[in-house]
């Protein structure tokens, strides 16, 4: 009799837990090997800890995902999906397609209040209208990657001020080396340069105001950014023909020793090393100061996880987001990703680039997401086209800025 009751309770319990938990549908675009491996680990670990949940992953191609997300969020929403912080999630939040997860971020916490303590510094980019809409799990720094050996051979030390930076470019150019390589075919690389010139010339607040559409593109402060840019573009310090090259195609000149620097994100390190560079001849430095006294803000684009408002299994979705924000989980995942964990409780792999990045970001005054994530899509696309045109034809600056101003007035109506 006792046995029967025990079996019955077991059956009941099983039935209960499966109806309580069930399947967790996750849509991702993690097709590159490193993110794929990192998430496979995370999915397995989560399942290990929550044996009652079955994870179902729909993996999309990275480029296709950007289109697919609009369809699946409106027609057949998953429980969890990955996206980006800042303005890139705004259209979806505004359309009511993303679930408010402020309770995870709140001090009382949904399950365990101090879970997200280590992430308070990343709360801002996740906030729209005073509420939080997702969880960041990784980010990476931007800065200048350079050839240590070429710098040494030309007697250049790492520049910390603008004058030193321009002087270094001049020395390199005179030595027959292209100072800065860039591939602008897909436009966004130009925004990295613009953002840094802007952040260093006018500061973080100005960057945010500009990307929010509060400042005309014809403003003298925007012109000041382009004045600095002129100092690099007009003497020809950037790689020739960059408009026909993808960002990866601009890496070989640096590997061959024909170019010395690249303003890039940390994800490029893997490619540099694949091409044969090592920690001995590849280095990283923070983008130098331009206007003295402007606090140093950095670009640190953040990748995030969200819950769809149409999710069927919000309970487990929240459990997954909380799991993903844990220090130990982020530590392990970012080891595989080769990026920085957002949770400050996580340790970072002993890699000179990650350590330099972590050090820089920990001391950063603020973190910008990137021009195309802080500005609305329409503005970003026109803006980056303008930056590319400027880099090819610096004389058209006024015309380009007037056009961007026209776009600004339309976009932020």
């Amino acid at each position: 009799m006792k046995k029967i009751i025990a079996t019955l309770t077991a059956i009941l319990a099983m039935g209960f837990s499966s109806s309580f938990a069930g399947t967790l549908v996750i849509n991702t675009d993690l097709t590159d090997p490193a993110p794929k491996a990192a998430f496979e680990w995370a999915f397995n670990k989560f399942q290990e800890e929550n044996p009652d949940v079955t994870i179902e992953v729909n993996n999309f191609d990275h480029e296709g995902y950007k289109q697919a997300i609009r369809n699946f969020l409106t027609t057949s929403p998953p429980d969890v999906f990955n996206w980006y912080a800042g303005n890139r999630m705004l259209p979806f939040v505004r359309a009511g397609l993303v679930e408010d997860v402020s309770d995870i971020w709140s001090d009382t916490g949904w399950v365990d209040g101090n879970l997200t303590e280590g992430m308070s510094h990343a709360k801002k980019p996740m906030t729209i209208g005073g509420k939080q809409w997702g969880i960041p799990y990784t980010y990476y720094q931007w800065g200048v990657y350079y050839r240590k050996d070429i710098f040494e051979a030309n007697g250049i030390s790492v520049p910390t001020t603008w004058d030193e930076f321009v002087a270094a470019c001049a020395t390199l150019k005179a030595a027959g080396v292209t100072p800065i390589t860039i591939g602008s075919k897909y436009l966004w690389t130009t925004a990295g340069v613009f953002d840094y010139l802007n952040l260093r010339t006018n500061g973080y607040e100005f960057h945010m105001a500009l990307t929010k559409g509060e400042i005309p593109y014809t403003d003298p402060r925007v012109h000041a950014v382009f004045d600095k840019w002129d100092e690099l573009v007009k003497p020809g310090y950037f790689l020739e023909n960059h408009a026909s090259l993808a960002w990866q195609e601009a890496i070989p000149p640096m590997i061959n020793g024909e170019a010395a620097m690249y303003v890039m994100g940390n994800f490029s390190v893997a490619l540099f090393k694949e091409g044969g560079l090592t920690n001995d001849n590849l280095g990283f430095f923070q983008f130098p100061e331009i206007t003295p006294g402007v606090p140093m803000a950095e670009e640190a684009p953040t990748d995030t996880m969200h819950i769809a408002s149409g999710a069927k299994n919000k309970t487990d979705a929240k459990r997954f987001l909380i799991f993903l924000s844990r220090a130990d989980v982020q530590e392990e995942m970012n080891k595989t990703l080769g990026q920085l964990p957002v949770n400050s409780g996580s340790k970072v792999d002993p890699d000179p680039f990650l350590e330099a990045g972590l050090n820089m970001l920990n001391n950063a005054y603020a973190m910008a997401q990137f021009y195309d994530r802080d500005a609305p899509a329409e503005m970003a696309s026109e803006g980056m086209k303008g930056f590319q045109e400027y880099m090819v034809n610096p004389d058209r600056r006024d015309k380009i800025l007037e056009r961007l101003e026209k776009v600004r007035q339309r976009v932020y109506k």
Binding site: R70, S184, Y186
Partner: protein, 305 residues
């Protein structure tokens, strides 16, 4: 039961009376339905969307003609329109070049079939592959680079040059188109009426005059078809642009189809209304061509009857 037979008889008589009239419609019905659902309805729907401001997610706002007014003041739109024109004109070169190749290959020597199929090969490979291969060619470190160096154009990348990038893409696009025109003419040449040529020869026609007065008129159906597919090909320039430059540098190689895609459907495009307005303009332009084409077909069928 005489009544029921009566009814059956009446039924079949109605069917018999109208069979001739109804049968074509019954056969046309599936096609017409698909045509309505996939062609006619989307056209009107796009025209309607072009009056809206809509990001595909949030509720749409009716804005009247303001998308069209904005279009008039959009320099990228004019660039795209001009590029479409360049495509149309330069693509026509595929017709005479294809004819030339066809005449050149219309011989009976050993192995000509192999040579013909080699010439036809570019049309068989996908446009995507051609686009990628040509961007490798154009890369300054690619195949053409060393030759350009000798011409004094060192490190010249045509796809990065706003003035010539479009020509670079057209050149890549025309490469399979020539093969297509060539095959059309080759079949045309196979069907030449030898009696007429003999007669022409007897009357003293030789060389170019024989070609112009005897052969070319006989190739008229092939020419017509070649022009039609070439115009269509030039309007389908979307794939080449998407693969080779994505409209860049800074929009200078955009064509209307790609610009429409970029504004409405690409990574940064959230403007369904504006994209539809561009589509409407493209549709109007194509309509002229289509109407002309239908008129020509109608005329020639009337003559044929």
């Amino acid at each position: 039961m005489p009544d029921s037979t009566q009814i059956t008889y009446r039924k079949s008589s109605w069917w018999k009376l109208n069979q001739q009239r109804l049968t074509p419609w019954i056969f046309l019905f599936p096609g017409l339905l698909l045509f309505l659902v996939y062609v006619i309805w989307p056209i009107f729907n796009s025209l309607y969307i072009s009056l809206l401001q809509w990001d595909g997610l949030s509720p749409a706002i009716y804005v009247g003609l303001s998308n069209y007014i904005e279009l008039l003041d959009d320099e990228y739109f004019y660039i795209s329109l001009m590029n479409n024109l360049k495509w149309l004109i330069l693509f026509m070169l595929a017709v005479p070049i294809g004819l030339g190749l066809a005449i050149f290959l219309n011989q009976t020597i050993f192995g000509i079939r192999l040579i013909k199929s080699l010439f036809f090969f570019p049309f068989v490979i996908s446009q995507v592959v051609i686009g990628i291969i040509f961007s490798w060619f154009y890369n300054p470190r690619g195949v053409i680079g060393p030759f350009l160096d000798k011409l004094g154009l060192s490190n010249y990348a045509i796809l990065a040059d706003e003035n010539f990038a479009t020509y670079g893409i057209i050149f890549a696009g025309i490469y399979p188109q020539i093969a297509y025109c060539m095959i059309l003419y080759l079949t045309g040449l196979n069907n030449l009426n030898t009696d007429q040529i003999e007669a022409g020869r007897m009357d003293g026609a030789k060389g170019f005059s024989l070609f112009k007065n005897i052969i070319l008129p006989q190739l008229k159906p092939a020419t017509f078809l070649a022009i039609v597919v070439t115009v269509i090909g030039s309007l389908r320039s979307f794939d080449m642009v998407a693969i080779m430059t994505q409209g860049g540098p800074y929009g200078s190689t955009n064509v209307l189809a790609y610009y429409m895609f970029e504004t409405a459907l690409s990574e940064y495009g959230y403007r369904m209304g504006y994209g539809s307005a561009i589509a409407a303009v493209l549709f109007t332009i194509m309509m002229f061509y289509i109407l002309f084409f239908i008129y020509r077909m109608y005329q020639s069928e009337k003559k044929g009857l």
